[in-house]
Symmetry: C2
Subunit: 270 residues, 2 copies
């Protein structure tokens, strides 16, 4: 069955969709067949990114590797029981539909706690949680002592992940590899950055999450959205914007490689 990678973090704007797209394109370019499931049926940033990619190919008469993309809109049923039954059915149907057509499914969750998001978390083989270098973002994962900056205990999102792991354990004995990744990391040294780093390290010892090298704050991670491209597509596209070889691009490629390796995806090793 396909390997399931979920981008989850109920904190908005932590970088789920951006990271999702870069993981998708990375895997496509390695020759894997990729399916995407967008659980943010209204905003659908990941799906919009892919639609832009499709439009770019059409407008420029080129071929770029494309995922099989699906969106699961939230149910409009008027009672929660009906809505959840409806969403569960469509989620499972989508999974079954993609199952024989792809090697890996990348699921992008919304920046809020929804029933669909919880279904996805339970189904994850690897759960990737990007966070900004910020205690505002960390507040969803852990309670922090403001005097010592030590972890006082888990917070809402860590508890949600714990419950997802429990459900998964009971369903099929499966485990979820939970990976934290710092996103939009500033270039400059700052006390705040050190503190976030030490909290992240402490989290790895306290709440069953590991962390991998993250992504810096770089315009290249967002400026190609209108054309559905990522840095990895640039050389092919002969989009020889002079700065294709700028240091920021070289560093970004490094970051993406480290990210993919850090994910330690079983199906990716020979």
């Amino acid at each position: 069955r396909p390997y399931v990678i979920v981008l989850g973090n109920e904190k908005g704007g932590s970088g789920k969709s951006t990271t999702a797209m870069h993981i998708v394109v990375s895997l496509l370019r390695e020759g894997f067949r990729v399916g995407t499931i967008d659980l943010d049926g209204r905003q659908k940033s990941l799906t919009r990114y892919i639609e832009n990619r499709r439009a770019y190919c059409k407008a420029n008469d080129v071929e770029l590797p494309m995922p099989l993309e699906r969106v699961i809109v939230r149910s409009t049923a008027r009672t929660s029981d009906e809505a959840e039954a409806d969403e569960k059915m469509r989620f499972e149907d989508t999974y079954v539909e993609l199952m024989d057509q792809v090697d890996v499914i990348v699921i992008d969750c919304p920046g809020s706690d929804t029933f669909l998001s919880r279904l996805a978390h339970t189904a994850a083989d690897t759960l990737v949680t990007p966070i900004n270098d910020s205690f505002v973002d960390l507040d969803l994962i852990a309670r922090i002592d403001p005097k010592t900056y030590r972890v006082a205990g888990p917070s809402l999102y860590a508890e949600m992940v714990w419950k997802a792991r429990q459900r998964r354990q009971m369903a099929d004995g499966g485990t979820i590899d939970w990976v934290l990744l710092r996103n939009r990391v500033g270039a400059v040294h700052a006390k705040n950055k050190e503190r976030v780093e030490s909290v992240v390290e402490e989290l790895t010892k306290r709440i069953g999450v590991r962390y991998i090298p993250g992504l810096g704050e770089r315009v290249i991670y967002r400026e190609l959205f209108p054309n559905g491209l990522t840095l990895m597509d640039l050389r092919d596209e002969g989009v020889s914007e002079r700065n294709d070889f700028s240091m920021s691009h070289v560093a970004a490629r490094q970051e993406l490689r480290a990210l993919m390796d850090g994910l330690n995806l079983a199906f990716r090793r020979e």
Copy 2:
């Protein structure tokens, strides 16, 4: 009746809560009585920021100006009709409760399209929408032509604001001053930045929004969250971290002054 400022943007992580807290503290320090209503009953970043502030005062035996803060949790009723009736009642009760106690109410919306968020938008005298310098964020506000980077038409969130303005017009003939503000603006010049700027300019001519000087990407806007402080509290607090007089802090103070002036708040002019 109190002046209502709403922080709205259904795009996650655009900076609503951060901007809300800085507006709140700014007004408090000018002597206004401020009430806050947090519509993100689970994440409640703004309320957490204020709770941290309260804890800081207690732990350090100091007094800092504080808002009257309220949270409106989402209804757990099992049918949408009951949930909406419940939320509407609690929203109105909260407003009535604060009405005679404050000069201004700052409402922080979640990063998703909820019924409570729509109620708040309809009640806004000023609607402040922060956005990242990113076409991913802009995608919620306008459709963009990827060849020309020109605005092709409004998108989901602009349509939601338009409907809120209609409802307000019908309810009491009131108008909503919709203000866009670029947030987390990078220091370095970039083609992407120019393009976002030109889209924002075009939006002001096309969808009834105006824009004001925004906030740069600065650690000072987020590093004081655990203590519930903002840059504006630092001098009082004699928190003389050497860098209280760093150029970034001086620039940040300028940005906050320009933001407050740009809001053009009727009750703030003599």
